[in-house]
Symmetry: C2
Subunit: 409 residues, 2 copies
């Protein structure tokens, strides 16, 4: 499979934007046309899942509804609308010897995606990889194999009809985890592995991969409310960051508040949190101000709750806030609410996270929100991509050099 | 060591360009001042090397001469002169909700360099890593430990004097290879590993690393001489690519010649090669035209000779040439000599190598020659950096977002 994907990648890399877009739009139409077939195949997975006694949350993620169908099709149409980075030439310089040196953006080649339950990742990932001119090998959860095969069963004929190799999108047809291990050893044919799922899956992939991995372990996101901040703005931002969708990686987990505003700000903030059912785990100063707060333990500071729970700490100054983020954060998303020009600039420079925000909710760390269009997930490791990964992050650049007979002295 | 390097990286990342440059210039001066001390320590390594019966080539690479001292010092002065990529802000967009989204260039963090013999890599690598605001852990060959410790012994006091942590540049003080294995497991503290050396070393690092690796296995570089090419230009380029310095990775290993010009071009080219002592291993057509040519076997096409040997094949057309490069090449450096506009453009687009050249020698794949200043080696894997790696490739970008109270709907 990996070898066939490599051969397909060579062909995909040379195909023009309009061919790739036509394929994406055609797949979108076919998904809608074949909705009942897809749902029938999905039922086979669901039947098996019930026997395996998966949790309700897992069954929920596995289920393909009419809304899932529409969202997959619309997602592909969005990707078709994005600009095509492949072939763009930049940073041209003329060297003293007359050589013209540029960088040309090219597809990465073959991308392996390893993910859990959600069959819609099959379509999202395939769409982005195709748009960027790559081949993709998809290895979804074993519990979603029928659904994933149904989806690629729709993609293959569209590729063939457009004169493209069907091996540009392949699903690993084996449920055994040994198949993942084997996949992770194909460094000769695969350029990049992207795992999407829980920390267990990601650690397994990193442990076993000889291929570069783009990953994100967890999002322990902070909002620091600075001395002199607009407290109404701070309240809205912190509430949004924590409660708008607490189960996602860019939700705030820890709030840091400057001591000079704590006694004024925390009661109003706590009222709103408590009304929304948010449990507060605070440092000693917090517990003095908010009677309903539980005492936070050392295990709360690095915790990714993904739930209506917040850790809350009063700090002496911004230096202490930044030191806290550096020690306990996960390089994911951190924000400051401030009215101070110098501290805003310093927070942005000194906080080492993939997205650093001033006076905005952490929930904006998202490819769509930051203007990348669709995304393949958020990378918290720094190599190649740091932050949300869009189409461009599925490409790289090569050097192209035009001369007229230059030789090296 | 890795943990200390991480703490040092946080400090280094915040230091301004002029501090970093002053340190680089000071180290350069100190290396020249302490030349006799460095050479004395180097003698200890050389004494040990003679007992270990290393090859002359290895001893040669290990030896620090006055010329090595000057070249290390001048190299640092060159790096001080380069622009500082850290802190530059680019690609600013204003989102419909008023968020201002940009990318800010930041250091990668902690970089581990694993290399063989040459102690000058210690200085070159340290200089580039410092300039990009990183910490570096250096693990040179066990045979050069005294030399490497002497060099970092010079760097540490300069760092301290400038108010920087001495842990920003550290040498692994243990000769045992187990130390390398331990280093490669510090994924919590190290962001990137760059191995520099032979294929054995690089494979060992890739096999054992949990940290992302930027690597280059080998350079099997091609020049394709097209139908209608300027044959004098082709001769100069091919001779330069093969013979100017045959032992390096960007030297040409295989020459591909269009059949319509073979009988005219090959005799004149062969004459020049043979005069310079280059052994020719040719396809059957080549052997008919050049009586001195040896018959090439299948093992010659993927060979990296690094020597005065060339594989030579006559091809039917450019498609066959590109197919040959795709099958046997190493994604390193490939060139075409042509006068045809369309084929020049198509070769550049379709050849999947880190540097693709038209009418210029493969020997130009080099950070200095392509305008990057000094380089950390050439990457032939596509993630993060593809081609020569300069200061900028030792950095990454984060997203910075300025708002005025935006929350996610």
């Amino acid at each position: 499979m990996a070898k066939a994907a490599r051969a397909a990648a060579t062909i995909m890399a040379r195909r023009p934007t309009h061919t790739k877009n036509r394929v994406l739009l055609k797949i979108a139409d076919k998904i809608e046309e074949e909705a009942s077939y897809i749902k029938t195949e999905n039922q086979k997975d669901l039947g098996r899942a019930q026997k395996m006694e998966l949790t309700n949350a897992m069954i929920d993620r596995l289920t393909i509804t009419d809304a899932t169908i529409t969202s997959m099709a619309d997602g592909l149409r969005d990707v078709a609308r994005l600009g095509d980075p492949v072939g763009s030439i930049s940073r041209t310089t003329l060297r003293p010897n007359g050589l013209e040196v540029s960088r040309m953006r090219i597809p990465l080649g073959v991308i392996g995606i390893i993910y859990e339950s959600r069959p819609n990742v099959t379509i999202d990932a395939a769409g982005l990889c195709l748009k960027a001119g790559n081949s993709v090998i998809l290895r979804g959860g074993s519990e979603s194999l029928h659904s994933n095969q149904a989806l690629t069963g729709i993609i293959s004929p569209v590729l063939i009809e457009a004169g493209l190799p069907k091996e540009a999108v392949q699903v690993v047809p084996i449920r055994d985890r040994a198949a993942v291990k084997a996949l992770l050893k194909q460094e000769e044919f695969i350029d990049l592995i992207i795992p999407r799922g829980g920390e267990g899956l990601i650690r397994f992939v990193v442990e076993n991969s000889k291929i570069p991995v783009l990953k994100h372990y967890k999002g322990v996101c902070h909002v620091y409310v600075d001395e002199g901040a607009d407290l109404n703005m701070a309240e809205d931002i912190c509430f949004n960051a924590k409660a708008q969708r607490p189960g996602v990686c860019n939700a705030m987990e820890t709030m840091l508040v400057h001591k000079s505003i704590a006694s004024k700000f925390l009661p109003q903030m706590a009222k709103r949190f408590i009304k929304a059912g948010v449990e507060i785990r605070g440092c000693p100063e917090t517990c003095q101000i908010i009677p309903e707060a539980h005492k936070a333990g050392e295990e709360d500071w690095p915790a990714e709750y993904l739930d209506l729970i917040i850790a809350l700490r009063v700090v002496d100054n911004m230096d202490q806030a930044i030191a806290h983020v550096t020690e306990y954060g996960s390089n994911h998303t951190d924000a400051i609410v401030t009215s101070d020009y110098q501290r805003a600039r310093r927070f942005v420079r000194e906080v080492d996270s993939s997205v650093v925000l001033v006076n905005a909710s952490t929930r904006f760390n998202d490819g769509g929100q930051l203007g990348l269009g669709a995304e393949m997930g958020i990378s918290t490791s720094k190599l190649h991509a740091f932050g949300p990964m869009g189409v461009e992050e599925l490409t790289t650049t090569k050097f192209i050099v035009f001369g007229d007979g230059q030789i090296r002295k």
